[in-house]
Amino acid sequence: MSDKLKHVSQSRLINETSFKERLIETVTKWEFILIVLFAGVVIFFSNASPYFLNYFNLMNTTFNFMEKAIMALPMIFVIMCGDIDISVASILALSSFAMGHASAAGAGTPEIILIGLCVGMVCGIFNGLLITGLKIPAIAVTLGSQSLFRGISQAILGDQAYTQYPESFAYFGQGYVGDTLIPFELVLFLILAAVMGFILHKTSYGRKLYAVGNSATAARFSGVPVARIRFTNMVLNGLFAGIAAVLLTSRIGSTRPNIANGWDMEAITLVVLGGVSISGGKGNIFGVIIAIFLLGYLKFGMGLLNISARSMIIITGFLLIAAVLIPEMLGRFKAKRKLMKQQA
C-alpha cells in the first residue's frame, strides 16, 4: 500500500526497507521472542531428559493445560476490549458443580454437557449485564462474582464432592481422537483456536474489537455497537469456561468447590504473555498460542527434571517478565542504532 500516498514529499521519507532493517524488525517482535524461548525450552529439555522428546509424552502432557488454554481464547477478546474477567475459574467451578448435581440426579452425558455449557453462559450473561447495563468496570464486577459463583457451589456442596459421572462422560477429558494418540482436548482446542483466530483477524467483528479496545468513544461515534460487543465477549468467556468445566470435570472425574482455584490468573497470564495489551487494542492470537505451549511444555520439562514446585513458580515468573523485557530492550537498542545511523 505504501507506494500510493500522493501528497507527501518523497524527499522527506526515510527509507528503511533494507533486508537488514527488516530482519531486525522481525527479530525484535514479541512473537519471535516467544518462539525463540519455546525453541530454547525444547532444546534444553530434550538434552536434559530422554523422556521429553517422546511423541506419547508430548501429546499426553497437553491434558494438563488444554482447559486453561481454552479459557484463554475468549479472554483475548475480553482483554482486547480493555476489560478483564477474574471470575472464569469460579464460573468453571459453578458449572462443574451443576454438572455434578445433574449427574447425581441421573442425567445422561448429553444433558450434563448441555447444563455445563448453559451455566457457563448464564454466568457470562450475568457479568455482561452488570458491566454493560450498569456501566460498572469489569474488574469490579468480576471481583464480586468471583466469590459469588464459587461461593454458591461451596454453599451447597460444603466439604462434599460429586464423583459419580456416566462412563461415556469420561471421553471428553480423557479420550483420544480415533485410534491416534492425539487427545480430544488438544484437537478441540486447535479447532476453537482456529475459529477464534479467524474471528479476531479476518472478520469485521475482530476489527471492531481492536477499535473498541483503542477508543471506545471513537468506536461508538463510528457506529460500532460497543456495549453489545463487550457483552458478547463476556458471554463467550462464560461459555468457554463451561467448555473447560466439561473437560476438566470429565478428566478428573470429580467436582469439589475448590476446583480450578486460581485459574483465572493463569488464563490471564497466558493472554498477556502472548502479547495482548492489558489496556486493550493490541495483540494477536498467535502470540497467545505460542505462550500456551511455551508455558505448558516448560512445566512438563521441569516436572521431568523433578524441579520443585517453588522453583517452577519462580522460573515462570521470571519468564513472564523476560518475555516482555527482552523485546523492549531490543527495541530500544534498535531505536538508538537507527538514530546513530541517521545522524551520521
Binding site: L5, V8, R12, G206, K208, N214, S215, A218, G223
Partner: protein, 499 residues
C-alpha cells in the same frame, strides 16, 4: 528594544519513516509576536515540542539568550522561562481548574507543603484577567470545550515565562474569547515577552503578529515582516503556488426536504430547535462555542437522547438511539473532537478510514483487504493526507492531517445526509479550499449537508441558508443572499431575535 531570546540552529527531528524537521533555523525576539506558518504536517507542532522540552531534537542546537541549553524534560524548559499552549488539549479532566493550572509547578509553603490557598487565589486572578466566569474548584470534566481552552491559556500564563508559545490556540474559541486572547497577547508583548503564534487563519496572523516564518515539508522556507507582506506572498511560500478560490461554492438545485426537525429539546443544552434540510443544500449552523450546535447534531446522530421533539427523515418520523442506527438511515457525522471522537489514534490510517463501513464492505463479516485498500487510497488521497504510508497509526500524524483522516472516513461512507461539525478545524488553507470544493461538489450531486462552523467566512461562503443559534435556541435563519457578517454575529450574540 528587541533582543534575541531563543535561537534554534540547524534543528532536525526524525520519526520512524519520516523527517518531521530538517535543517531548521528559527530565531525569536522579545517584544514581538512571531507567527509560525506552514501546511499541515509542515513540522510546526514538532518544533514547539522541541522548544518546550517535550521532544529532544535528533540534531541541532538550542540557544537561550546566547548560551546553549538542553531541555531534557518539559520541566527544564519551563524553568528556563518557556511556556506553551499545545495544539491538542492536554488537561487532567478529573482534577480541578486550579490543579490543572499548577500541575508541574505547584506553589509550596516553606516546608514543602502545597499551598492550595495561594494557588486558588492565583487561579482566581488569572481567570479574572481572562474575564472568565469559572470557579477555580470546578473539575475540568464539567467544562465545555472553549472553557477548557481558556484554562489552557491561563495555565500558560501562570508560568512566569519569557517566551509563550501558542499552537493553534484559537481553533476552539469563539469571537469574544479570541478578542480576550488578543488583549493578553498585546499585554505580554508590552511587557517585553516573546510570543510564538501558530494559526492557519490569516486574518488572525495579520491582526496580531509582527513577524513570520514559513516552513514547508519540515524545512525552513523564509521569513519576513507581516506588515510589508501580503497573504498571497505568504501562501506562495507555504504551498509553493498561488491559491484559487477559498469558497468554490457550486450552484446546486435545492431538492425536496430530507430532514425535518421540529421542536427538538435537550434540557440544559438546547430547546425547541426546528429546521429543515433539503437535498443538494448546504445548511450552515453558526453560533458561539457552547451555543448548543454540536449537541443538536449529536442528538440527530443518536449519541445524546432528546427529551422532546420529532425528527422526520424523508417523510417518516424516526427514532434514533445509536450512531449505528443513524448510519443505517444514511446519516454521517464528522464530530467536533478529532482526538476523542473522530479518529482511533492507535489504529492505522487504513483501518480508521474503513471503520464506519467495515460491516458493509465485509461480505459475510469477512474482511476484504482489496476493497479496504481501494477505499483508503481513494479518500485518503482526495483529502491530501500526508503520512509515511497508510499503515502508520493516526497518532503519528499532525493535527490537521488527523482531521483529514476523520473527514475521509466519513466521506467514504457515501451518506445521504452529511453533518460536518467544525470540519476544517486546524486544516491549512490549501486543503481547506480542497475540502470546500469537494463538499460543494457532493452537494451539487444531491447530498444534503449540515455545516456547523465557528468560522464566519466559511459559513457565509459555503452555506445556502444559515441557522444561527444562541444559548441553546435558534435565534435566526438567514438565506444566503440576505446574510452578512453583521446580522449573523448580531443573531449569534443574542442581540437580534426572531425568524
Amino acid at each position: 528594544m528587541k533582543k534575541t531570546i531563543l535561537e534554534l540552529k540547524d534543528i532536525a527531528k526524525y520519526f520512524p519513516g519520516i523527517k518531521a524537521l530538517d535543517n531548521v533555523d528559527f530565531t525569536i525576539r522579545t517584544g514581538e509576536v512571531h507567527a509560525l506558518i506552514g501546511e499541515n504536517g509542515a513540522g510546526k507542532s514538532t518544533l514547539v515540542k522541541i522548544m518546550t522540552g517535550v521532544y529532544q531534537p535528533t540534531k541541532g542546537k538550542i540557544l537561550m539568550e546566547g548560551s546553549e541549553v538542553h531541555f531534557g524534560t518539559a520541566h527544564d524548559a519551563q524553568a528556563a522561562g518557556v511556556a506553551a499552549i499545545h495544539q491538542e488539549a492536554s488537561m487532567f479532566t478529573e482534577l480541578t481548574v486550579t490543579e490543572n493550572i499548577f500541575m508541574g509547578h505547584h506553589l509550596r509553603k516553606k516546608g514543602g507543603t502545597l499551598d492550595w490557598k495561594a494557588m486558588r487565589q492565583h487561579t482566581q486572578e488569572l481567570l479574572d484577567r481572562l474575564e472568565l466566569d469559572i470557579n477555580p474548584d470546578t473539575l475540568i470534566k464539567n467544562l465545555g470545550t472553549a472553557q477548557r481552552h481558556m484554562v489552557e491559556i491561563a495555565k500558560a500564563l501562570s508560568v512566569d515565562a519569557q517566551l509563550v508559545i501558542m499552537d493553534e490556540p484559537t481553533s476552539a474559541l469563539s469571537l469574544h474569547e479570541v478578542e480576550e486572547l488578543y488583549k493578553i497577547i498585546r499585554q505580554l508583548k508590552d511587557e517585553g515577552k516573546a510570543i510564538v503564534f501558530i494559526s492557519h487563519k490569516f486574518d488572525e496572523i495579520f491582526e496580531i503578529c509582527d513577524y513570520f516564518t514559513v516552513f514547508r515539508d519540515g524545512q525552513y522556507i523564509g521569513e519576513g515582516e507581516v506588515a510589508t507582506s501580503s497573504v498571497d506572498e505568504i501562501v506562495k511560500m507555504m504551498v509553493g503556488r498561488s491559491l484559487g478560490h477559498m469558497f468554490p461554492k457550486k450552484e446546486a438545485a435545492i431538492g425536496e426536504a430530507v430532514l425535518d426537525v421540529k421542536g427538538l429539546s435537550l434540557p440544559g443544552f438546547f430547546k425547541n430547535v426546528s429546521f429543515t434540510l433539503h437535498k443538494g443544500e448546504i445548511l450552515g449552523f453558526f453560533g458561539l462555542v457552547g451555543a448548543g450546535r454540536s449537541e443538536v447534531m449529536r442528538t440527530i446522530f443518536g449519541i445524546d437522547k432528546k427529551s422532546e421533539g420529532t425528527i422526520v427523515l424523508n417523510g417518516h418520523e424516526i427514532h434514533i438511539s445509536s450512531p449505528r442506527l443513524a448510519m443505517q438511515r444514511g446519516i454521517a457525522y464528522v464530530p467536533e473532537d478529532r482526538q476523542e471522537q473522530g479518529a482511533i489514534l492507535e489504529m492505522s490510517l487504513s483501518h480508521n478510514i474503513t471503520l464506519p463501513q467495515i460491516d458493509k464492505i465485509s461480505p459475510f463479516g469477512v474482511l476484504n483487504k482489496k476493497t479496504e485498500k481501494t477505499i483508503t487510497e481513494e479518500f485518503g488521497n482526495k483529502m491530501e493526507i500526508k503520512a509515511a504510508n497508510w499503515k502508520v497509526n493516526a497518532n503519528t500524524l499532525s493535527g490537521g492531517n488527523q482531521q483529514k483522516v476523520v473527514l475521509a472516513k466519513w466521506l467514504a461512507t457515501d451518506p445521504d445526509i452529511l453533518i460536518l461539525d467544525e470540519p476544517t478545524k486546524g486544516i491549512d488553507v490549501a486543503t481547506k479550499a480542497a475540502v470546500h470544493e469537494f463538499v460543494s461538489e457532493m452537494a451539487a450531486a444531491g447530498l444534503a449537508v449540515i455545516l456547523v462552523s465557528s468560522e464566519l467566512p466559511e459559513v457565509l461562503g459555503m452555506a445556502d441558508r444559515i441557522v444561527v443559534m444562541h444559548e441553546g435556541h435558534v435565534s435566526k435563519v438567514l438565506n444566503r443572499d440576505e446574510a452578512n457578517s453583521d446580522n449573523v454575529i448580531l443573531a449569534a450574540t443574542g442581540h437580534e431575535e426572531g425568524m
